[in-house]
Symmetry: C2
Subunit: 223 residues, 2 copies
DNA sequence: AATTAATTTTAGTCTAATCTAAAAATTATA
DNA sequence: TATAATTTTTAGATTAGACTAAAATTAATT
Protein backbone atom coordinates (compact mmCIF):
# COMPACT_ATOMS: atom_id res chain seq x y z
CA UNK A 1 0.00 0.00 0.00
CA UNK A 2 1.51 3.32 -1.03
CA UNK A 3 1.49 6.15 1.49
CA UNK A 4 -0.01 9.30 -0.03
CA UNK A 5 -0.27 12.06 2.52
CA UNK A 6 -3.35 14.20 2.86
CA UNK A 7 -3.41 17.99 2.86
CA UNK A 8 -4.07 20.01 6.02
CA UNK A 9 -7.57 20.69 4.74
CA UNK A 10 -8.28 17.04 4.05
CA UNK A 11 -7.00 16.09 7.49
CA UNK A 12 -9.23 18.66 9.14
CA UNK A 13 -12.26 17.35 7.25
CA UNK A 14 -11.43 13.77 8.24
CA UNK A 15 -11.10 14.80 11.85
CA UNK A 16 -14.44 16.60 11.73
CA UNK A 17 -16.17 13.61 10.16
CA UNK A 18 -14.62 11.30 12.73
CA UNK A 19 -15.86 13.48 15.56
CA UNK A 20 -19.39 13.63 14.14
CA UNK A 21 -19.43 9.88 13.46
CA UNK A 22 -19.69 9.07 17.17
CA UNK A 23 -23.17 10.57 17.34
CA UNK A 24 -24.14 9.65 13.76
CA UNK A 25 -22.58 6.26 13.08
CA UNK A 26 -24.86 5.63 10.09
CA UNK A 27 -23.86 8.76 8.19
CA UNK A 28 -22.70 12.31 8.77
CA UNK A 29 -24.65 15.09 7.07
CA UNK A 30 -23.14 17.71 4.80
CA UNK A 31 -24.54 20.50 6.94
CA UNK A 32 -23.08 19.18 10.17
CA UNK A 33 -19.63 18.96 8.58
CA UNK A 34 -20.03 22.50 7.27
CA UNK A 35 -20.82 23.70 10.78
CA UNK A 36 -17.79 22.06 12.39
CA UNK A 37 -15.51 23.21 9.58
CA UNK A 38 -16.97 26.71 9.63
CA UNK A 39 -17.51 26.61 5.88
CA UNK A 40 -20.39 26.33 3.39
CA UNK A 41 -22.28 23.15 2.52
CA UNK A 42 -21.28 23.50 -1.12
CA UNK A 43 -17.63 23.47 -0.17
CA UNK A 44 -18.23 20.34 1.87
CA UNK A 45 -19.81 18.61 -1.11
CA UNK A 46 -16.73 19.39 -3.19
CA UNK A 47 -14.42 18.02 -0.52
CA UNK A 48 -16.35 14.83 0.24
CA UNK A 49 -16.26 13.98 -3.45
CA UNK A 50 -12.52 14.24 -3.36
CA UNK A 51 -12.19 12.22 -0.16
CA UNK A 52 -14.44 9.56 -1.69
CA UNK A 53 -12.18 9.31 -4.75
CA UNK A 54 -9.27 8.76 -2.36
CA UNK A 55 -11.27 5.97 -0.66
CA UNK A 56 -11.17 7.78 2.67
CA UNK A 57 -14.94 7.99 3.01
CA UNK A 58 -18.07 6.28 1.67
CA UNK A 59 -20.26 8.78 -0.11
CA UNK A 60 -23.51 8.50 -2.04
CA UNK A 61 -25.31 11.67 -3.08
CA UNK A 62 -27.75 12.98 -0.47
CA UNK A 63 -26.94 10.02 1.81
CA UNK A 64 -24.35 11.43 4.20
CA UNK A 65 -20.83 10.06 4.62
CA UNK A 66 -19.02 7.46 6.71
CA UNK A 67 -15.30 6.92 7.13
CA UNK A 68 -13.67 3.92 5.49
CA UNK A 69 -11.14 2.03 7.58
CA UNK A 70 -8.41 3.91 5.74
CA UNK A 71 -10.14 7.20 6.51
CA UNK A 72 -10.68 6.30 10.15
CA UNK A 73 -7.00 5.49 10.56
CA UNK A 74 -6.03 8.80 8.99
CA UNK A 75 -8.45 10.74 11.21
CA UNK A 76 -7.40 9.01 14.42
CA UNK A 77 -3.76 9.63 13.59
CA UNK A 78 -4.45 13.36 13.50
CA UNK A 79 -6.38 13.18 16.78
CA UNK A 80 -3.49 11.29 18.38
CA UNK A 81 -1.01 13.92 17.29
CA UNK A 82 -3.26 16.76 18.42
CA UNK A 83 -3.64 15.36 21.92
CA UNK A 84 -0.02 14.35 22.37
CA UNK A 85 1.11 17.84 21.39
CA UNK A 86 -1.37 19.31 23.87
CA UNK A 87 0.19 17.21 26.62
CA UNK A 88 3.63 18.43 25.57
CA UNK A 89 2.54 22.04 25.56
CA UNK A 90 1.00 21.84 29.03
CA UNK A 91 3.34 19.47 30.84
CA UNK A 92 6.68 20.23 29.21
CA UNK A 93 6.37 23.85 28.17
CA UNK A 94 4.06 25.07 30.93
CA UNK A 95 1.16 26.34 28.83
CA UNK A 96 -2.22 26.73 30.50
CA UNK A 97 -4.79 24.14 29.36
CA UNK A 98 -7.02 26.87 27.91
CA UNK A 99 -4.30 28.05 25.58
CA UNK A 100 -3.10 24.99 23.71
CA UNK A 101 -5.89 23.98 21.37
CA UNK A 102 -5.09 26.43 18.57
CA UNK A 103 -1.39 25.59 18.60
CA UNK A 104 -2.11 21.84 18.56
CA UNK A 105 -4.42 22.52 15.63
CA UNK A 106 -1.27 23.36 13.67
CA UNK A 107 1.13 20.84 15.18
CA UNK A 108 -1.26 17.95 14.47
CA UNK A 109 -0.43 18.24 10.76
CA UNK A 110 3.29 17.61 11.06
CA UNK A 111 3.92 14.38 9.19
CA UNK A 112 6.62 12.15 10.68
CA UNK A 113 5.40 8.97 12.37
CA UNK A 114 8.76 8.65 14.08
CA UNK A 115 8.21 12.08 15.61
CA UNK A 116 4.84 11.10 17.07
CA UNK A 117 6.11 7.89 18.58
CA UNK A 118 9.20 9.52 20.07
CA UNK A 119 7.04 12.31 21.48
CA UNK A 120 4.68 9.73 22.98
CA UNK A 121 7.60 7.98 24.66
CA UNK A 122 9.12 11.28 25.81
CA UNK A 123 5.83 12.18 27.51
CA UNK A 124 5.62 8.78 29.21
CA UNK A 125 2.83 7.36 27.04
CA UNK A 126 0.05 9.53 28.48
CA UNK A 127 -3.50 8.13 28.33
CA UNK A 128 -5.39 11.43 28.37
CA UNK A 129 -4.84 14.93 27.07
CA UNK A 130 -5.12 18.03 29.31
CA UNK A 131 -8.87 18.17 28.70
CA UNK A 132 -9.49 14.56 29.68
CA UNK A 133 -9.79 13.28 26.10
CA UNK A 134 -8.32 9.83 25.48
CA UNK A 135 -5.15 9.61 23.37
CA UNK A 136 -5.39 6.95 20.65
CA UNK A 137 -2.55 4.41 20.67
CA UNK A 138 -0.21 4.00 17.71
CA UNK A 139 -2.46 1.26 16.29
CA UNK A 140 -5.40 3.66 16.18
CA UNK A 141 -7.38 2.27 19.12
CA UNK A 142 -9.29 4.70 21.32
CA UNK A 143 -10.84 3.74 24.65
CA UNK A 144 -13.65 6.12 25.37
CA UNK A 145 -14.53 6.48 29.01
CA UNK A 146 -16.71 9.52 28.94
CA UNK A 147 -20.41 9.00 28.37
CA UNK A 148 -21.99 10.75 31.36
CA UNK A 149 -22.28 14.48 31.85
CA UNK A 150 -22.70 16.44 35.04
CA UNK A 151 -26.18 17.33 33.79
CA UNK A 152 -27.10 13.64 33.96
CA UNK A 153 -26.70 13.53 37.74
CA UNK A 154 -29.70 13.87 40.08
CA UNK A 155 -29.65 15.89 43.31
CA UNK A 156 -27.47 14.35 46.03
CA UNK A 157 -25.52 12.33 43.46
CA UNK A 158 -21.78 12.89 43.15
CA UNK A 159 -18.92 12.24 40.74
CA UNK A 160 -15.45 13.23 39.57
CA UNK A 161 -14.77 15.56 36.64
CA UNK A 162 -12.96 13.48 34.02
CA UNK A 163 -13.20 15.66 30.94
CA UNK A 164 -14.65 18.64 29.12
CA UNK A 165 -16.75 18.59 25.96
CA UNK A 166 -16.07 22.20 25.00
CA UNK A 167 -12.37 23.07 24.77
CA UNK A 168 -12.85 26.75 24.05
CA UNK A 169 -10.66 29.16 25.95
CA UNK A 170 -13.61 30.97 27.51
CA UNK A 171 -15.23 27.79 28.82
CA UNK A 172 -11.97 26.43 30.22
CA UNK A 173 -11.21 29.70 31.94
CA UNK A 174 -14.67 29.79 33.49
CA UNK A 175 -14.59 26.28 34.92
CA UNK A 176 -11.06 26.76 36.17
CA UNK A 177 -12.20 29.81 38.08
CA UNK A 178 -15.02 27.66 39.52
CA UNK A 179 -12.38 25.03 40.50
CA UNK A 180 -14.15 22.56 38.25
CA UNK A 181 -10.87 21.16 36.97
CA UNK A 182 -10.13 17.53 36.11
CA UNK A 183 -10.27 15.38 39.24
CA UNK A 184 -12.59 17.68 41.19
CA UNK A 185 -15.25 15.85 43.26
CA UNK A 186 -18.64 17.34 42.45
CA UNK A 187 -21.93 16.82 44.31
CA UNK A 188 -25.25 18.02 42.97
CA UNK A 189 -27.07 19.79 45.80
CA UNK A 190 -30.18 21.07 44.05
CA UNK A 191 -31.59 21.40 40.53
CA UNK A 192 -33.83 24.37 39.75
CA UNK A 193 -36.83 23.24 37.70
CA UNK A 194 -37.16 26.56 35.90
CA UNK A 195 -33.90 26.52 33.91
CA UNK A 196 -32.31 23.24 35.03
CA UNK A 197 -29.44 25.14 36.60
CA UNK A 198 -27.83 23.34 39.54
CA UNK A 199 -26.14 24.31 42.76
CA UNK A 200 -23.12 22.16 43.44
CA UNK A 201 -20.41 21.55 45.97
CA UNK A 202 -16.84 20.81 45.00
CA UNK A 203 -14.60 18.69 47.22
CA UNK A 204 -17.22 19.08 49.95
CA UNK A 205 -17.50 22.84 49.75
CA UNK A 206 -20.62 24.58 48.41
CA UNK A 207 -19.58 26.81 45.51
CA UNK A 208 -22.84 28.13 44.09
CA UNK A 209 -24.76 27.42 40.91
CA UNK A 210 -23.93 26.64 37.31
CA UNK A 211 -26.11 26.69 34.20
CA UNK A 212 -27.39 23.57 32.48
CA UNK A 213 -25.22 24.39 29.48
CA UNK A 214 -22.12 24.30 31.65
CA UNK A 215 -23.21 21.03 33.27
CA UNK A 216 -23.73 19.50 29.84
CA UNK A 217 -20.15 20.27 28.86
CA UNK A 218 -18.54 18.50 31.81
CA UNK A 219 -17.89 14.76 31.69
CA UNK A 220 -18.35 12.97 35.00
CA UNK A 221 -17.49 9.60 36.44
CA UNK A 222 -20.16 8.82 39.02
CA UNK A 223 -18.93 7.81 42.48
CA UNK B 1 1.40 47.71 13.26
CA UNK B 2 -1.02 44.97 12.40
CA UNK B 3 0.23 41.39 12.37
CA UNK B 4 -0.62 39.66 9.11
CA UNK B 5 0.85 36.19 8.94
CA UNK B 6 2.55 34.84 5.85
CA UNK B 7 1.76 31.54 4.16
CA UNK B 8 4.12 28.56 4.35
CA UNK B 9 5.17 29.30 0.79
CA UNK B 10 5.89 32.94 1.48
CA UNK B 11 7.89 32.00 4.57
CA UNK B 12 9.97 29.52 2.58
CA UNK B 13 10.69 32.15 -0.07
CA UNK B 14 11.71 34.68 2.59
CA UNK B 15 14.00 32.12 4.17
CA UNK B 16 15.59 31.35 0.80
CA UNK B 17 16.12 35.03 0.03
CA UNK B 18 17.61 35.58 3.47
CA UNK B 19 20.05 32.73 2.97
CA UNK B 20 21.10 33.99 -0.46
CA UNK B 21 21.45 37.57 0.81
CA UNK B 22 24.57 36.72 2.79
CA UNK B 23 26.52 36.09 -0.41
CA UNK B 24 24.63 38.66 -2.49
CA UNK B 25 23.90 41.59 -0.19
CA UNK B 26 23.17 43.94 -3.09
CA UNK B 27 20.44 41.83 -4.63
CA UNK B 28 19.38 38.22 -5.02
CA UNK B 29 18.69 36.96 -8.54
CA UNK B 30 15.45 35.33 -9.64
CA UNK B 31 17.31 32.29 -10.89
CA UNK B 32 19.15 31.70 -7.62
CA UNK B 33 15.87 31.82 -5.70
CA UNK B 34 14.35 29.39 -8.18
CA UNK B 35 17.21 27.01 -7.60
CA UNK B 36 16.93 27.04 -3.80
CA UNK B 37 13.13 26.76 -3.93
CA UNK B 38 13.29 24.01 -6.54
CA UNK B 39 10.82 25.85 -8.74
CA UNK B 40 10.77 27.81 -12.01
CA UNK B 41 12.00 31.37 -12.51
CA UNK B 42 8.55 32.44 -13.67
CA UNK B 43 7.03 31.25 -10.41
CA UNK B 44 9.65 33.24 -8.53
CA UNK B 45 8.76 36.38 -10.43
CA UNK B 46 5.11 35.94 -9.45
CA UNK B 47 6.00 35.46 -5.82
CA UNK B 48 8.49 38.32 -5.51
CA UNK B 49 5.83 40.65 -6.88
CA UNK B 50 3.52 39.55 -4.13
CA UNK B 51 6.18 39.85 -1.43
CA UNK B 52 6.98 43.34 -2.71
CA UNK B 53 3.34 44.38 -2.40
CA UNK B 54 3.46 43.17 1.20
CA UNK B 55 6.59 45.32 1.74
CA UNK B 56 8.65 42.27 2.67
CA UNK B 57 11.20 42.78 -0.12
CA UNK B 58 12.48 45.54 -2.39
CA UNK B 59 11.93 44.62 -6.00
CA UNK B 60 12.54 46.42 -9.27
CA UNK B 61 12.17 44.51 -12.51
CA UNK B 62 15.34 42.77 -13.65
CA UNK B 63 17.24 44.18 -10.64
CA UNK B 64 17.15 41.33 -8.12
CA UNK B 65 15.59 41.57 -4.67
CA UNK B 66 16.63 42.53 -1.14
CA UNK B 67 14.75 41.98 2.10
CA UNK B 68 13.17 44.96 3.83
CA UNK B 69 13.59 45.16 7.61
CA UNK B 70 10.10 43.70 7.92
CA UNK B 71 11.04 40.87 5.57
CA UNK B 72 14.31 40.22 7.34
CA UNK B 73 12.53 39.93 10.67
CA UNK B 74 10.02 37.50 9.19
CA UNK B 75 12.77 35.39 7.62
CA UNK B 76 14.91 35.28 10.75
CA UNK B 77 11.90 34.28 12.82
CA UNK B 78 11.46 31.21 10.63
CA UNK B 79 15.15 30.37 10.89
CA UNK B 80 14.98 30.72 14.68
CA UNK B 81 12.05 28.34 14.86
CA UNK B 82 13.69 25.87 12.50
CA UNK B 83 16.86 25.67 14.58
CA UNK B 84 15.17 25.57 17.97
CA UNK B 85 12.97 22.70 16.82
CA UNK B 86 16.06 20.88 15.55
CA UNK B 87 17.62 21.20 19.00
CA UNK B 88 14.42 19.84 20.55
CA UNK B 89 14.32 16.91 18.16
CA UNK B 90 17.93 15.93 18.82
CA UNK B 91 18.37 16.72 22.50
CA UNK B 92 14.89 16.01 23.87
CA UNK B 93 13.52 13.36 21.56
CA UNK B 94 16.76 11.61 20.67
CA UNK B 95 16.72 12.02 16.91
CA UNK B 96 19.99 11.69 15.03
CA UNK B 97 21.28 15.01 13.64
CA UNK B 98 21.02 13.72 10.08
CA UNK B 99 17.30 13.11 10.45
CA UNK B 100 15.80 16.35 11.72
CA UNK B 101 15.99 18.83 8.89
CA UNK B 102 12.86 17.72 7.05
CA UNK B 103 10.76 17.66 10.21
CA UNK B 104 11.99 21.10 11.26
CA UNK B 105 11.07 22.28 7.77
CA UNK B 106 7.44 21.71 8.81
CA UNK B 107 7.64 22.75 12.45
CA UNK B 108 9.21 26.10 11.55
CA UNK B 109 5.84 27.26 10.22
CA UNK B 110 3.88 26.87 13.44
CA UNK B 111 2.78 30.37 14.36
CA UNK B 112 2.70 31.09 18.09
CA UNK B 113 5.43 33.41 19.39
CA UNK B 114 4.70 32.22 22.91
CA UNK B 115 5.46 28.68 21.76
CA UNK B 116 8.86 29.64 20.38
CA UNK B 117 9.91 31.53 23.47
CA UNK B 118 8.74 28.78 25.84
CA UNK B 119 10.55 26.21 23.71
CA UNK B 120 13.71 28.34 23.78
CA UNK B 121 13.53 28.50 27.57
CA UNK B 122 12.75 24.79 27.86
CA UNK B 123 15.87 23.98 25.85
CA UNK B 124 18.01 26.28 28.01
CA UNK B 125 18.42 29.07 25.43
CA UNK B 126 20.78 27.16 23.13
CA UNK B 127 23.17 29.22 20.99
CA UNK B 128 23.66 26.71 18.18
CA UNK B 129 21.59 24.08 16.43
CA UNK B 130 22.78 20.47 16.01
CA UNK B 131 24.62 21.41 12.82
CA UNK B 132 26.51 24.29 14.42
CA UNK B 133 24.30 27.02 12.93
CA UNK B 134 23.65 30.01 15.22
CA UNK B 135 20.15 30.40 16.64
CA UNK B 136 18.82 33.96 16.26
CA UNK B 137 17.61 35.57 19.50
CA UNK B 138 14.02 36.68 19.97
CA UNK B 139 14.95 40.18 18.74
CA UNK B 140 16.16 38.78 15.43
CA UNK B 141 19.91 39.15 16.00
CA UNK B 142 22.23 36.50 14.62
CA UNK B 143 25.90 36.23 15.52
CA UNK B 144 27.68 34.44 12.75
CA UNK B 145 30.91 32.78 13.77
CA UNK B 146 31.58 30.61 10.82
CA UNK B 147 33.64 32.11 8.04
CA UNK B 148 36.48 29.63 7.65
CA UNK B 149 36.26 26.18 6.09
CA UNK B 150 38.50 23.19 6.58
CA UNK B 151 39.58 23.70 2.96
CA UNK B 152 41.07 27.08 3.97
CA UNK B 153 43.66 25.47 6.25
CA UNK B 154 47.21 24.82 5.09
CA UNK B 155 49.20 21.66 5.91
CA UNK B 156 50.15 21.39 9.59
CA UNK B 157 47.41 23.85 10.59
CA UNK B 158 44.69 22.67 12.96
CA UNK B 159 41.20 23.68 14.11
CA UNK B 160 37.94 22.56 15.68
CA UNK B 161 34.85 21.59 13.66
CA UNK B 162 32.16 24.16 14.55
CA UNK B 163 29.56 23.60 11.86
CA UNK B 164 28.51 22.08 8.56
CA UNK B 165 27.49 23.92 5.41
CA UNK B 166 25.58 21.01 3.88
CA UNK B 167 22.89 19.54 6.13
CA UNK B 168 21.90 16.71 3.83
CA UNK B 169 21.42 13.32 5.38
CA UNK B 170 24.06 11.70 3.22
CA UNK B 171 26.75 14.27 4.05
CA UNK B 172 26.01 14.19 7.78
CA UNK B 173 26.13 10.41 7.82
CA UNK B 174 29.46 10.41 6.01
CA UNK B 175 31.20 12.87 8.30
CA UNK B 176 29.79 11.15 11.37
CA UNK B 177 31.31 7.90 10.17
CA UNK B 178 34.60 9.80 9.75
CA UNK B 179 34.22 11.11 13.36
CA UNK B 180 34.20 14.63 11.94
CA UNK B 181 31.46 15.70 14.34
CA UNK B 182 31.11 19.12 15.99
CA UNK B 183 33.97 19.70 18.42
CA UNK B 184 36.40 17.34 16.72
CA UNK B 185 40.01 18.64 16.59
CA UNK B 186 41.27 18.38 13.04
CA UNK B 187 44.83 18.76 11.78
CA UNK B 188 45.70 18.97 8.09
CA UNK B 189 48.61 16.61 7.44
CA UNK B 190 48.99 16.90 3.69
CA UNK B 191 47.22 18.39 0.70
CA UNK B 192 47.43 16.59 -2.64
CA UNK B 193 48.03 19.09 -5.44
CA UNK B 194 46.24 17.01 -8.04
CA UNK B 195 42.69 17.20 -6.63
CA UNK B 196 43.18 19.27 -3.45
CA UNK B 197 42.14 16.31 -1.32
CA UNK B 198 43.69 16.32 2.15
CA UNK B 199 44.83 13.74 4.63
CA UNK B 200 43.87 14.69 8.14
CA UNK B 201 44.18 13.56 11.72
CA UNK B 202 41.32 13.87 14.20
CA UNK B 203 42.01 14.30 17.90
CA UNK B 204 45.61 13.35 17.19
CA UNK B 205 44.85 10.19 15.28
CA UNK B 206 45.49 9.89 11.54
CA UNK B 207 42.21 8.94 9.85
CA UNK B 208 42.95 9.10 6.13
CA UNK B 209 41.92 11.48 3.38
CA UNK B 210 38.85 13.53 2.47
CA UNK B 211 37.91 15.27 -0.78
CA UNK B 212 38.08 19.03 -1.28
CA UNK B 213 34.30 19.12 -1.55
CA UNK B 214 33.96 17.60 1.91
CA UNK B 215 36.53 20.03 3.32
CA UNK B 216 34.63 22.96 1.82
CA UNK B 217 31.48 21.92 3.65
CA UNK B 218 33.02 21.89 7.12
CA UNK B 219 33.29 25.09 9.15
CA UNK B 220 36.42 25.36 11.26
CA UNK B 221 37.68 27.52 14.09
CA UNK B 222 41.43 27.68 13.78
CA UNK B 223 43.45 26.83 16.91
C1' DA C 1 -51.27 13.22 -1.56
C1' DA C 2 -49.87 17.81 -2.33
C1' DT C 3 -47.38 21.62 -0.90
C1' DT C 4 -43.88 23.78 1.71
C1' DA C 5 -39.47 23.73 3.98
C1' DA C 6 -34.95 22.18 4.56
C1' DT C 7 -30.97 20.00 2.81
C1' DT C 8 -27.80 18.95 -0.68
C1' DT C 9 -25.78 19.34 -5.08
C1' DT C 10 -24.45 21.82 -9.33
C1' DA C 11 -22.78 25.66 -12.06
C1' DG C 12 -19.92 29.29 -12.33
C1' DT C 13 -16.45 32.49 -10.17
C1' DC C 14 -12.29 33.63 -7.35
C1' DT C 15 -7.51 33.41 -5.27
C1' DA C 16 -2.91 31.26 -4.35
C1' DA C 17 0.61 28.88 -6.28
C1' DT C 18 2.38 26.49 -9.89
C1' DC C 19 3.68 25.42 -14.87
C1' DT C 20 5.04 26.03 -20.20
C1' DA C 21 6.00 28.82 -24.01
C1' DA C 22 7.04 33.10 -25.77
C1' DA C 23 8.49 37.95 -25.39
C1' DA C 24 11.46 41.46 -23.35
C1' DA C 25 15.57 42.99 -21.10
C1' DT C 26 20.21 42.41 -19.78
C1' DT C 27 24.86 40.60 -20.24
C1' DA C 28 28.54 38.58 -22.80
C1' DT C 29 31.10 38.15 -26.99
C1' DA C 30 32.77 38.64 -31.50
C1' DT D 1 28.90 48.20 -31.51
C1' DA D 2 26.21 44.66 -33.34
C1' DT D 3 24.99 39.95 -32.41
C1' DA D 4 24.39 36.07 -29.57
C1' DA D 5 23.49 34.00 -25.13
C1' DT D 6 21.44 34.34 -20.77
C1' DT D 7 18.21 35.97 -17.57
C1' DT D 8 13.88 37.70 -16.40
C1' DT D 9 9.22 38.76 -17.20
C1' DT D 10 4.65 38.13 -19.32
C1' DA D 11 0.74 35.54 -21.15
C1' DG D 12 -2.13 31.90 -20.65
C1' DA D 13 -3.46 27.39 -18.34
C1' DT D 14 -3.98 24.31 -14.35
C1' DT D 15 -5.16 22.70 -9.58
C1' DA D 16 -6.90 23.03 -4.70
C1' DG D 17 -10.05 25.09 -1.98
C1' DA D 18 -13.53 28.29 -1.11
C1' DC D 19 -17.74 31.18 -2.27
C1' DT D 20 -22.67 32.65 -4.22
C1' DA D 21 -26.75 31.69 -6.52
C1' DA D 22 -29.67 28.47 -8.44
C1' DA D 23 -31.36 23.77 -9.23
C1' DA D 24 -32.39 19.18 -7.47
C1' DT D 25 -33.56 16.14 -3.91
C1' DT D 26 -35.36 14.76 0.49
C1' DA D 27 -38.08 15.73 4.72
C1' DA D 28 -41.89 17.85 7.04
C1' DT D 29 -46.70 19.67 7.10
C1' DT D 30 -50.96 20.44 5.87
MN1 LIG E 1 -5.88 21.35 12.16
MN1 LIG F 1 -7.71 18.53 23.93
MN1 LIG G 1 9.55 25.11 5.42
MN1 LIG H 1 20.21 22.90 11.15
Amino acid sequence: MQIISNSFTEENYLKAIHKLSRKNPTGVSTNSIAEVMETKASSVTDMVKKLAVKKLINYKKYQGVTLTEKGRKAAVSVVRKHRLWEVFLVHSLGFKWDNVHEIAEELEHVQSDELVDKLDKYLGFPKYDPHGDPIPDSEGNITYHKDMCLSDLDPSEAGVVVGVKDSSSSFLQYIEKMKLILGAKVRVEEIIDFDRSMSISINGKLVGSISESVAKNLYIKRT
